[in-house]
Symmetry: C2
Subunit: 198 residues, 2 copies
């Protein structure tokens, strides 16, 4: 229990709790009100507006930090799904299981055009869809995914189901506990080859 080592090199201590507090408050606030002002964010974080400006000199800096964080979470979620490992349909199921739990952290992304104006965000999303395109194409070659529909369309439908049900959860129309299972079921049903069905 006692700290025999003065400081861990990766986590020397809580060095800047302020930054994290502000990021959390911003993510939470922007999820419901995409136009929240810095004053509101600062108030929600329990710090002064001046302090926010000390950590993030401009609003764009805050949004960028938030976007980068979201990108990183999404990227590691896809990595955790092991896109190249096993049948593509199994991978799709894993993607759902990895990405859906991020709903709360990524909720601020849906209603904020400001965030998507960032080139990093555009690039990151393009990278995500490209990875999924490759995955679906592999599935089509291996016969696990229907080949009568272009991979890009299949990917859009997949992300559409994911986002649609996720919106349903946010609106209280869909039970969170069953969301993952239903998304997987519907996805696999839609992408299965038409001849050889489950």
């Amino acid at each position: 229990m006692s700290g025999s080592i003065r400081s861990l090199p990766t986590t020397p201590a809580p060095p800047e709790p302020v930054r994290e507090v502000v990021l959390r408050a911003a993510a939470a606030l922007l999820a419901t009100d995409s136009g929240a002002s810095l004053a509101e964010i600062a108030a929600a974080a329990g710090v002064g507006r001046t302090t926010v400006h000390r950590v993030f000199p401009t609003r764009g800096d805050l949004l960028t930090a938030l976007a980068l964080e979201a990108v990183e979470r999404l990227t590691s979620a896809l990595a955790a799904a092991r896109l190249d490992d096993g049948p593509a349909t199994d991978v799709l199921a894993r993607v759902v299981e990895e990405v859906l739990p991020l709903s709360d952290e990524l909720a601020f992304l849906d209603s904020g055009p400001e965030v998507w104006d960032l080139p990093q965000m555009r690039d990151a999303w393009w990278s995500v869809t490209a990875s999924l395109d490759t995955l679906v194409q592999r599935g089509q070659l291996e016969g696990d995914i229907r080949g009568d529909i272009p991979a890009e369309v299949v990917v859009e439908a997949f992300t559409g189901i994911l986002l649609g049900v996720w919106n349903g959860v946010r609106d209280g129309r869909v039970a969170p506990a069953t969301a993952t299972r239903h998304v997987v079921t519907l996805t696999l049903a839609s992408v299965a080859p038409p001849t050889r069905q489950v």
Copy 2:
């Protein structure tokens, strides 16, 4: 050809082209830049900002008019799909065929939180999903739609596929000509009962 009747009662003449011009310009501009200012909209419409204010006293009035128009188009599209007429799966296909062509007119809805803040918009969308819920429930009772997934989830997945592919068309990832067919195919595959497949 010659106008023997001085004016048709339904269309006495182009009474206010200005209003329509502004609405079209606003819809087009807000589709790509949800925060477009009234000055930009006026310039895009080819009229003075003062004129815009004459037709729509406040920005909210413009947005409301735009939202009401969108609601009306969506509602009549659903009416044209005859929700109570025939097997639910056929109806879903008709809904896709009726709604997808509205992409351009309704494109301004996706990136603008301002529009969705209007209670009329919320109510209208709730009405749309409620209609679809009823449709899917009927399909489940009649055995055309899988019953192992709640109707609300099926509806979210359906709208998700629709919006996802529609986004793909906007991004140039999906060919517009085949979008409707693919959406119908993927939708019917996902909602079909698991036991008795196509």
